[in-house]
Structure formats: structure tokens, C-alpha cells
């Protein structure tokens, strides 16, 4: 696997624009009549997993798909609001495959693999066509053409949307395709089923161990290939915009079995979320970034200004994004907008009861566009804001603050989206592949569907073409051992019978991660986190209290197993952040910044993917580097001024 000290991404030869086409032609095919003899496991039913399961089912493979919710339609892709990018250039505003590719590389702060990003931009247009064919009701203009909006980090209008519910509509499209395959008998859906272990036979991924969340039964599933598309690990910070059940379990279990975890420290903080209101808070709600198209962000110029927003005159307001980044203004990329908000609050200019908030003001937009237009564009978001805060944002400006939103890090995969474990493919947010150190808005939905609909069905087929179907046995010792390990883990956590609830551990872990590995990181803060996390982990295994038993529907047990895995993972994330001695994208090390406080990259020493191998006998994880080579684009300092 290691060549010249660099992990090999198996990128095909040839010019960037032709790689995917050539590769598709060179890949092996499985004879249609043979496909049903291959069993495929897909863990996850979001855009990535659901898309892959449905498409592989259509091709005739024998698919088993898993999700922990009661229905595949509830995967957290459903929550995406703003939109999905595609290089269609319907607006004739200068967009192209190359521009979307370039924007994504630049937005990712030159920390992603060129070839993967180019492919993503290439297939983006097919995604829109496919979704339209499947009945996704994208917004339309009066002439019947598809509508677009612009989104943070881009100067063209290439974002397709379905009101403020784009993720919902795309996922329901995937769910429909998946349901059709369930009816056709090619996909068997296992809802309320959680994967707790991966099984390797002779170094190849051959199956998973799952827990039936209703009966508690530990089940064994063997297959020719395993695909994981289990979403992001945002809830390692406890509070995030993710769903309560988002977890790192599948990825960390694979990591413990030898899969490399890439760039775990690349986490994205979204600038426009509703601020925390108190200790009871269980999750944070995103206000779509599209609001930044028309809303203006500001704080008072004076520290600790006690006046309400309406009493603060124009010349005592600081529209800091417009001031600092005149060409992008309120549409500056997420990491930049988030840090600017933190800086304003650190200076004592934050608003609201906690002082951890900035205004997002629509007064000018309402004057310019009229109230009905603003209502038409953002009505559902204003309603959502009112439900949560009890405030009417047409009258008083919204208060927003950054929150953990997306995780760019994930399991390492090559160009084929296969991990370093043969037969284990990883798609969607759970891989590390396309967004480098920072993801641009409306690009995750694009990646999920690209991976699921258009990439994995080819590359998985290529892998299977070299395998003999059915070359596994769920009765083999590898499976029985893995199932026993899972039972032991469950037994262990249930028998501690300590004093502290699972949630109290989760909350404490989240605070550590947010305070010391959040928006701004230092050598000192990360070292501190690396002291605190192992101690918390130790306490967890001595003092957690998990009521109930293993053979029943037991939400506390589900949480406990996830939190145990977050505790393992948090250390890896902080360690990665510690050794990446540069700032890039979402990873901001205070020691490495320009005079103006912008991220300072170190291309000479850190232009690589950090892929971590689990320590074999305790100690620190082992680093494998994949050097990033840029043939098409030149390094430049990201500037949004």
C-alpha cells in the first residue's frame, strides 16, 4: 500500500478531465446474469447509502441495507435545507465543470485530491437530471425552467433547491428508488438495526455484526462486499446540527480493525445556527446559509452595548463581513464567517443574553424586496426560528452563532472509494474524500448522490468482478468471534451499574471537544484535551449507569455504545489536530495565522492527507501520509476579500 512513503490513492493516469471516462472504460464488468449471486451489504440509507443500495439493486445485485432509524426515509440527509450544487450553467453566468472543480479545491483550502473533486464536478450535472426524472420537485421559474440560487463560497448561481427542504426531497427520491427495489426483491431493508462490528476474513471485508434495536438480537450478516455510508461524526461535540443518532460507531469499528481514518480534525462549523439557550440544550438548529444571500450580519461597534437592535443607529453597527471581505461580503465561506463571529463575541460585542450571538438582519432586504418576497424565499426558516426562540424575525433581527455542522474527515478511501481494507467501500460524509479542509455549501448533497448513484455502482462492480461470489460463511470463526465481542461489549457496559448517566458523559466530552478542539485550537488546548479525554473514558467504563437489559428496546444502551465509541474517536481527532501544525479551512490553529487573523497554511510540510492507523499495542496511532499533488491548480492563498 505504501509507495515512496506516500499512501497510494490509485488515481488513474491521463489528463484530469479524461480520468473518469477512461477508468470507467477500463473497469471490469459483472455479467448481468451473475449479479444476483453477489451479496452486497450497505450500511446507511442516506443519500450515499440509499442511492448506492437502490442503484446496485437496479443493476441486479443482492443487497442488504441497514439503518438505525425506523425507516430509511429518516436518514439525516433529510435535514439539509439550502440546496445542491451542479455545474449546469443554466444561468449562463460563467459556470463550468472546471469552475465547480476549482471552487471546491479552493474552498477546501487545497487539502483534497484533485481527481476525486474533478469527477464530482463532472457527475454533478447528471445528478440533477436523475433527480428530476425521479420526481424531485425542484424550484422552478415561471417559464418552467429549473431555478437556481447562489450559496456561500461561490460567485455563480449553481445551487438547485426545493424550498428550504432540499435534502428532504432528494432523500425522498432516494427512498422511492430504494422502496421500488425492496418491492422488486433486490434489496432487503433492515431498519432499526445498528451495525456494531465489521468482520474481516483474510484481511477482506466480508460482513457485519448488527443489533436489532427492537429485540436486542445480535445478528450476523455475511457478504461479498461491505459499503458503509453512515454519515458524519458531528455529535462528538455533543451539540451540533446533526441528528441525535448520528455516530462514529461504524467508522471507528472499522478503524479498530485496520481501516485508516483520514483527517479527523477537519470539522466544519456553520456560521448561522440558533444560539445555545441553556444547559438543557440537546441539539442546535441550523438556519440555512441561503439566508446570507439577503440578510446582513452585524454586531454593535461598542463592547457590551446594552441597547436592543432597533435602538442602535446605523453608524454604531459593524457589518463586519461586508467590511472585511468586500467582494464576498455576507457570502464569505463558512469557516471565515464563523471565526469572524467568534472574534466579534470574544471582543465583547456579541448579542443576546449569553453574549454568544450576532445579528442576521433582514430589515434592508424587506425594504428592497418587500415583505412578501422575503416571506416567499425564507418563510419556513422564519417560522422555524420563531418556534424555537419565540421571536418574530421579520420584526427583530435573528440571532445566530456558529455550531458544529459537518465533518470533512472520515475513513480514508482511494479513487474507487475503497478503504485500505479490500472490500470495504466508504461513501458520503463518512469518507474523507472530496472536501479537503472545508466544505462549500450545497456540496455534501452533491457528493452523497455522486458517490451513491454514479461512482460506487461502477467501482464496486469492478471489485466484485474479481471475486468469486459467495466466498464467505457466516458460520466461520471470524463471524462467531466478532459476534461474541459485540455481546461482551454490551454485557460490560450494562454491568457497570455506576452513578452517572450516559448523557452526562456525552455532554462533558462535547464540552472538552468544543472548548479545546473547536473553532480555534492551540498546542496547549489540544494537549489539555488529550489529558482530559482518556480520564473521562476511564471514568465512563467505571461509573456509567445504563438501565435495562440487552435483549429489549433500550435507547440508553444504544446511546452508551455510541458514546463509548465517541470517547475512542475524540482522542484521535484531537491528536490529528495537534500534529497538523498549520491552519487550513476548518482547522484553525491560533499559532498559525496571518497578521489579519486568517488561516496560514504550510504547503511545504502539510500538503498531505493524514491517514491514521489504529495503534497495535496501545500508544499513539500510526500516521500514513498521502501526498497531495496538484497538477491542474496552483496553490494560492484563499482570499475572499
Amino acid at each position: 500500500m505504501d509507495t515512496n512513503g506516500s499512501l497510494n490513492g490509485n488515481v488513474p493516469d491521463g489528463p484530469l478531465a479524461e480520468k473518469w471516462d477512461n477508468h470507467r472504460f477500463n473497469m471490469k464488468l459483472v455479467n448481468p446474469a451473475n449479479r444476483r449471486r453477489y451479496k452486497v451489504i450497505v450500511v446507511g440509507s442516506g443519500l450515499a447509502g440509499g442511492g448506492a443500495a437502490a442503484t446496485l439493486g437496479e443493476l441486479g445485485y443482492n443487497v442488504d441495507c441497514f439503518c438505525y432509524q425506523d425507516s430509511p426515509r429518516r436518514a439525516h440527509s433529510i435535514a439539509a435545507q439550502g440546496g445542491i450544487n451542479a455545474a449546469k450553467n443554466y444561468q449562463n453566468d460563467g459556470d463550468s465543470t472546471y469552475r465547480l472543480f476549482y471552487d471546491t479545491i479552493k474552498g477546501g483550502d487545497f487539502r483534497s485530491r484533485e481527481s476525486n473533486v474533478y469527477r464530482l464536478a463532472q457527475v454533478s450535472a447528471n445528478i440533477i437530471d436523475q433527480c428530476v426524472a425521479m420526481g424531485v420537485p425542484f424550484a422552478r421559474e415561471y417559464g418552467g425552467q429549473l431555478a437556481n440560487r447562489s450559496f456561500g463560497g461561490a460567485q455563480v448561481s449553481r445551487t438547485f433547491y426545493a424550498r428550504g427542504q432540499t435534502g428532504q426531497q432528494l432523500l425522498l427520491g432516494v427512498y422511492a428508488a430504494l422502496s421500488r427495489q425492496v418491492a422488486a426483491g433486490t434489496v432487503k431493508m433492515h431498519s432499526r438495526t445498528e451495525m456494531l462490528e465489521i468482520v474481516l476474513v483474510d484481511g477482506q471485508a466480508k460482513g457485519v455484526i448488527t443489533r436489532n434495536l427492537v429485540t436486542g438480537e445480535i445478528e450476523t450478516h455475511a457478504a461479498d462486499v461491505v459499503i458503509m455510508a453512515t454519515g458524519g461524526y458531528g455529535p462528538v461535540f455533543y451539540l451540533s446540527t446533526n441528528a441525535m443518532g448520528n455516530n462514529v460507531t461504524a467508522s471507528i469499528r472499522a478503524y479498530m480493525k485496520g481501516a485508516y481514518f483520514a483527517n479527523p480534525c477537519y470539522t466544519q462549523i456553520h456560521p448561522t445556527c440558533i444560539p445555545v439557550s441553556g444547559d438543557h440544550q440537546s441539539k442546535l438548529t441550523l438556519m440555512s446559509e441561503s439566508l446570507r444571500n439577503d440578510g446582513r450580519i452585524w454586531v454593535p461597534t461598542k463592547e457590551g452595548d446594552p441597547r436592543g437592535p432597533a435602538e442602535i443607529p446605523e453608524d454604531e453597527r459593524d457589518y463586519y463581513l461586508e467590511r472585511m471581505y468586500p467582494s464576498f461580503g455576507n457570502l464569505a465561506p463558512r469557516d471565515i464567517a464563523s471565526r469572524a463571529a467568534k472574534r466579534a463575541c470574544d471582543e465583547g460585542r456579541g448579542v443576546g443574553d449569553t453574549g454568544l450571538g450576532v445579528y442576521l438582519d433582514f430589515t434592508d432586504a424587506i425594504k428592497r424586496l418587500s415583505l412578501p418576497v422575503v416571506q416567499q424565499r425564507y418563510g419556513n426558516l422564519f417560522d422555524m426560528y420563531e418556534k424555537i426562540t419565540g421571536e418574530n424575525a421579520y420584526q427583530v433581527p435573528m440571532r445566530i452563532y456558529p455550531a458544529i455542522h459537518y465533518t470533512m474527515g472520515g475513513l480514508w478511501v482511494d479513487y474507487n472509494l475503497m478503504s485500505n481494507i479490500p472490500g470495504l467501500f466508504v461513501l458520503g460524509e463518512s469518507n474523507f474524500s472530496d472536501h479537503g479542509a472545508n466544505r462549500l455549501g450545497a456540496s455534501a448533497l452533491m457528493q452523497g448522490l455522486a458517490d451513491g448513484y454514479f461512482v460506487a455502482p461502477y467501482t464496486v462492480g469492478n471489485y466484485l468482478a474479481n471475486q468469486t461470489p459467495g466466498d464467505y460463511s457466516a458460520e466461520s470463526s471470524e463471524f462467531t468471534q466478532a459476534a461474541q465481542d459485540v455481546k461482551d461489549r454490551i454485557h460490560r457496559v450494562l454491568s457497570i451499574d455506576g452513578k452517572r448517566t450516559v448523557t452526562s458523559f456525552h455532554r462533558e466530552l462535547g464540552m472538552i471537544c468544543w472548548d479545546y478542539c473547536g473553532m480555534a485550537r492551540t498546542d496547549q488546548s489540544l494537549t489539555k484535551a488529550l489529558d482530559l479525554i482518556p480520564a473521562l473514558k476511564e471514568e465512563f467504563w467505571e461509573n456509567v449507569s445504563v438501565p435495562g437489559g440487552g435483549d429489549e428496546l433500550n435507547p440508553e444502551l444504544e446511546k452508551a455504545l455510541r458514546v463509548a465509541d465517541f470517547l475512542e474517536f475524540a482522542e484521535l481527532m484531537c491528536y490529528d489536530a495537534l500534529v497538523r501544525k498549520e491552519s487550513c479551512g476548518g482547522h484553525f490553529r491560533e499559532e498559525y495565522q496571518t497578521q489579519e487573523g486568517e488561516a496560514l497554511r504550510d504547503d511545504e510540510n502539510f500538503s498531505h492527507v493524514s491517514a491514521w492507523e489504529a495503534p497495535r499495542n496501545g500508544g499513539r496511532p500510526v500516521l500514513h501520509k498521502e501526498n497531495l499533488e496538484f497538477e491542474e491548480v496552483e496553490f494560492s492563498v484563499r482570499s475572499y476579500k
Binding site: 424550484a139 422552478r140 427512498y175 441528528a243 428496546l553
Partner: protein, 248 residues
């Protein structure tokens, strides 16, 4: 705020359930309803008691996982609000609140407030899709779709599949859920080739799953957290009649 909670507790699908009463104090108006239940559960665990099981995931009103009949109304009965979006500022200090699971014969209780809604999945599997394989789709702008049609499709497609409609219907009918999907796809040119078979198959499946008939109570529309209009039921009835007359 101090509250009295009367909560349905049921060990599993086989056991019989009962209402139990809990006193909870120190609830603040900014908490969501589910956060209030979180606080209650933390205290139950600390007292060595079994916490209350309930379904939830996104906690922002879009995944459709949360349920709960609150004071006799699905999702609490506040307009356009799912249980997870409901905040305690809608209640008063000293209130007694009853919390029960969805009640419909096609949604059996699995534990406490958690029910089995896989019947909805099976209805979609019966025909709630457009048969377009991945690959080879024409350009997204090849067939223009008038904005009013796209908007009407989106109105129906906003359904989150929560089941409040069936849970609040006196007949336990799933008409609103089924109609939302039929109407979504019938408003789009891409959905037309299969429109007849789709409505027949989905309605047949709905009956088979044990959902009741629609007798126009309109409770579903009143309780739907996504304001899905019963006009979609009328649309579905027209689709159904059309398909029957044509012999689709």
C-alpha cells in the same frame, strides 16, 4: 415550571400498558418538549428507574421520527409543529400533561411511546415511486414544468411520514399520507405514465395494512405538522376514479 406528567408505559408489544404519573420540576420555557422528557429521563435513571422510551432523531421537524399524542392531540395539536419543535413556553406552571403513543391498529406499540410505522414503508413500496433507473435521464430542463405544478407537487411532497394523520383519525385512516404521495407524483409530468397503477396499488396496500376508511372528519389535516391539505385527498380520489374507469 413544575408539571405533572401522565405517561403511557408499556414493556413491549406483548405486554399491556398503563399510565404512570411523574412529577417534574425545574422545567424552563426555552426547553423543547423532548428536552423536558430528557430531563425527566435523567432523573428517572438517577433514581434507578427505567427511562421513558420515545422516538426522535433530527429534532428539527423534518425526519418524521418523533411522534407522541400530547393531551390527546397528535404532536400536541399546535399548527405546523412537530413534537420535537414544540417548546415548553406553550405550557403553564402546574399543568398536567398526558403523553401517549400514536394510536392506530396499523401502528402497534413496541415500547412505551415507540410504535411500529413500517406499514407506511410498505405502502410506498407498493407504488410511491417513479420507475426511473439511475443513468440515462434527459436534461433536467428538457421538460419544462409550470411553476404552479412544481409548487403543488412540493406542497404535497413536504409530508414527513410521521403518521399523525392516521393517529388522529377516528377511523385510523392513512388517506392523507397516501394522498400526499399520489398527489405529489401526479402533479409532475414524470409521474404520469404510472399514475393509474400507482394509485390503485397504494390504496390496496393501505387497506391491506389495516388502515381505516376516510369519512371526511378532516382531523388529519388539523393535526398534520406539515399542513398537508385534504385537497390532496380529493385529488387522489379523482386519480382513483380515473384509474378505475380506465381499467388501469
Amino acid at each position: 415550571m413544575d408539571l405533572t406528567l401522565k405517561v403511557w408505559r408499556q414493556k413491549d408489544a406483548q405486554s399491556t400498558g398503563r399510565i404512570e404519573t411523574y412529577q417534574v420540576s425545574g422545567i424552563i420555557p426555552d426547553m423543547s418538549f423532548l428536552e423536558m422528557l430528557d430531563v425527566t429521563n435523567e432523573r428517572l435513571i438517577e433514581e434507578g428507574k427505567e427511562p421513558i422510551a420515545f422516538d426522535h432523531d433530527c429534532r428539527e421537524g423534518i425526519c418524521g421520527m418523533c411522534s407522541l399524542v400530547i393531551n390527546g392531540k397528535a404532536h400536541g395539536g399546535f399548527s405546523g409543529t412537530t413534537t420535537c419543535q414544540l417548546h415548553m413556553r406553550k405550557f403553564n406552571d402546574g399543568d398536567t400533561i398526558t403523553v401517549e403513543p400514536w394510536r392506530a391498529s396499523a401502528f402497534p406499540v413496541l415500547r412505551d411511546l415507540v410504535v411500529d410505522r413500517t406499514s407506511f414503508d410498505r405502502i410506498i413500496q407498493a407504488g410511491g415511486f417513479i420507475s426511473a433507473n439511475t443513468g440515462g435521464a434527459p436534461d433536467g430542463n428538457a421538460v419544462p414544468i409550470p411553476k404552479p405544478d412544481a409548487d403543488a407537487a412540493m406542497d404535497a411532497a413536504a409530508c414527513i411520514g410521521c403518521g399523525a394523520c392516521a393517529a388522529s383519525c377516528p377511523n385510523g385512516s392513512a388517506m392523507l399520507f397516501v394522498a400526499a404521495k399520489v398527489s405529489h407524483l401526479a402533479h409532475l409530468p414524470q409521474g404520469l405514465p404510472e399514475r393509474g397503477q400507482r394509485v390503485l396499488d397504494m390504496v390496496a396496500k393501505m387497506d391491506e395494512e389495516g388502515f381505516g376508511n376516510c369519512t371526511n372528519h378532516a382531523e388529519c389535516e388539523a393535526m398534520c405538522p406539515k399542513d398537508i391539505s385534504i385537497s390532496h385527498i380529493a385529488k387522489m380520489n379523482r386519480e382513483f376514479i380515473r384509474a378505475t374507469v380506465r381499467g388501469d
